[in-house]
Symmetry: C2
Subunit: 191 residues, 2 copies
């Protein structure tokens, strides 16, 4: 847990703001899964709500529905290969998906939900059921109930990509194994 | 319209995938507005549906509700300052917001909706009303009915940040006028 620090509730939206590709994880009765999800954003600053698309075919989905919780985490360059695996292979086809992904998982005290090592930040969300959204759009909403970040890349509510090592940059997926890393900072005056 | 090309419907999701900050625009009975929205993603590959958060206080929101359409566009470094203005000033407070933003707008033939110059891509969406989502989460969904991109930065379904000029990179907003540009490419093997 070295380098992992809590994120203040009113700064969690900044984790989502940059639009990084996420990994969604969930666990129910000891069965866990994790899948990559480029389609995520958030709603509201406080309490921050995560919005993520989880297809009906994904093994992760019933784990969210049954446990009532999911985690979103934002993998970095250092685990791009593992992220690609988690987005390509379904646990419906390979029961040992997590073990064979190469990704390593840990748990935070008090939470029975696997979190992926090598991410920039992690949020745990309490599922807010909206059956129509889930049926029509595969769209899940959850209220963020806990959040942590790796202090080397996000600290005191600020992303630190200016100084973070290259392999801690977030991933922004396109298709076919092609990602872009987050890039240089740009500051413009406020109004 | 130099450099603006249609995007194939089955490649539109790739515009959304990288998580860039958007500008939402809409027009109703000759009244137009545009606002920055970092909180956007998409649902489904085909037909691609845009998901965007539009707060109840925003002037743009009733324009979407009344006209039944909205546009999402993805501004580049070249218009970062204008994007910040569009995200900071409300047309509720300044009726000349668009004129004073410094942003320039154009329309595509057949569409009465303002599009912002200097963006990497533009999509027009038909609003799919979901009153509960809009009330509870400020979450709007729209089916993409037209899409274009600047061929210097997105062509034949591929982002071209490897070769595009720096001022055409997409913007990924954090807070307080602080953005990150999209960065370098990274390719990992498929599974």
């Amino acid at each position: 847990m070295e380098h992992i620090q809590s994120v203040a509730a009113d700064k969690v939206y900044r984790i989502f703001n940059i639009g990084a590709t996420s990994v969604v994880s969930a666990e129910h009765e000891g069965v866990a899964d994790a899948m990559a999800a480029a389609w995520n954003t958030c709603a509201e600053v406080l309490p921050c709500k995560a919005v993520v698309l989880i297809d009906k075919t994904h093994f992760t989905r019933p784990l969210v529905e049954k446990s009532g919780y999911f985690a979103l985490q934002f993998p970095t360059v250092g685990v791009a290969r593992e992220t690609m695996y988690l987005g390509s292979v379904s646990k419906n086809d390979n029961a040992k998906k997590l073990e064979e992904s190469g990704a390593e998982f840990f748990k935070m005290p008090g939470w029975e939900i696997p979190l992926m090592k090598g991410c920039a930040a992690w949020v745990i969300c309490k599922h807010i059921p909206r059956p129509e959204n889930e049926k029509d759009f595969d769209l899940f909403v959850g209220e963020v109930v806990a959040a942590w970040a790796d202090e080397r890349v996000f600290k005191d509510g600020h992303w630190l990509f200016e100084t973070a090592p290259d392999d801690m940059k977030t991933l922004h997926y396109v298709a076919g194994g092609h990602f872009y890393k987050i890039g240089e900072a740009l500051d413009v005056p406020g109004y």
